[in-house]
Subunit: 208 residues, 2 copies
């Protein structure tokens, strides 16, 4: 979890797990106070009570460090089971919006995505650490809805994944855009409107 090339040789002094936690927490604190652009490696190391060289031994740079620090925030996302897909989606939308209200997430998410446009390794790291963690909710919610007969099953398994991806991009993309680009509140009313729009779309267009 912590860093890149973990040699993980058995012998020698092991890396301090406490240091990892302190560094990631310090990174989040620094993001809140300074924001992405003014955050420096030296500052994080000082906050964490750790030498700057230790930071570079575990993370290649600011990008990778911040991805890991922010990824932990996404563990809080959970899919409720209210027996109704629409209610479940609305709930997740509001959870995600609450996450995007946190200053660490706001300033870091867009920044690392921006960096990832020129760094394939960072893109993969974001995918596994953040994106996949969100997408699980969509996969799970869709399975439940199909089991309850709220959504049609895909006739062909080859169509199932593209549809899941589409739903995921619609939900995550729309909420992020509303919160960070349009920068208008994601409140109960808006979440209900958006969810209604999405549900009508899903029930109407079966396959494609």
């Amino acid at each position: 979890m912590p860093n890149e090339s973990t040699p993980s040789g058995r012998t020698g002094r092991p890396r301090s797990a406490a240091a990892d936690a302190a560094i990631l927490a310090a990174t989040r604190d620094a993001l809140v106070e300074l924001g992405w652009s003014k955050l420096t490696m030296g500052d994080v190391s000082a906050r964490a009570g750790v030498a700057k060289t230790t930071l570079y031994r575990r993370w290649a740079g600011k990008n990778e460090l911040v991805v890991d620090a922010v990824a932990e925030l996404f563990d809080s996302l959970e899919l409720p089971d209210r027996g109704c897909l629409e209610a479940d989606v609305e709930d997740v939308v509001l959870q995600f919006a609450a996450l995007l209200r946190r200053p660490e997430a706001r300033t870091a998410l867009m920044a690392v995505v921006a960096e990832s446009t020129r760094d394939p390794a960072l893109r993969d790291r974001i995918r596994s650490a953040i994106v996949d963690r969100q997408k699980r909710l969509v996969v799970l919610g869709r399975q439940r809805a199909q089991a309850r007969g709220e959504l049609p099953r895909e006739p062909d398994d080859a169509l199932a994944e593209p549809t899941t991806d589409l739903i995921f991009d619609v939900i995550a993309g729309t909420v992020v855009h509303r919160a960070l680009v349009s920068s208008e509140p994601v409140d109960d009313l808006w979440a209900a409107s958006f969810t209604a729009l999405l549900m009508h779309g899903l029930r109407g267009s079966a396959g494609a």
Copy 2:
């Protein structure tokens, strides 16, 4: 257009419009070659054949400069009139996707949005220079569709604007998320699937 506090006093030597164009073009070139994070003011000034001090006389910093440089790219977006809302939406989606394939746009858009989370002035600048330029297409397309009877009119004018905002966030947010976060191709097939989903949603949920 070019910068912030334009004194615009009548007397004295006027600012060179050619320099503005050269600077913005140089900024886009630098974005393509270096990306957002490695772009420096000194580099841009050298490319533009302009003194670094001239840059700072017109733009407060990298953020504002890049917003203006990228905003011009959005002038190319146009709403076609194919007589069918679905076809028009699909066309705009593909136009927007093509824009997001350009390296300047990819690396800059997310970056400036990230910065704007801690800078209200930058947020306003992005809104007027980029966001509003996109949103016009939605407003116009919706008017046409209502005139053709493809979409229901809002009973109350107070509901018209929130609905327009919602549609805008869905379209722009989903395409951006697909292209930059999921980083998967926005091709004809995907655009058709997404548009179909959106159209069903719009026809189904009238008011909200």
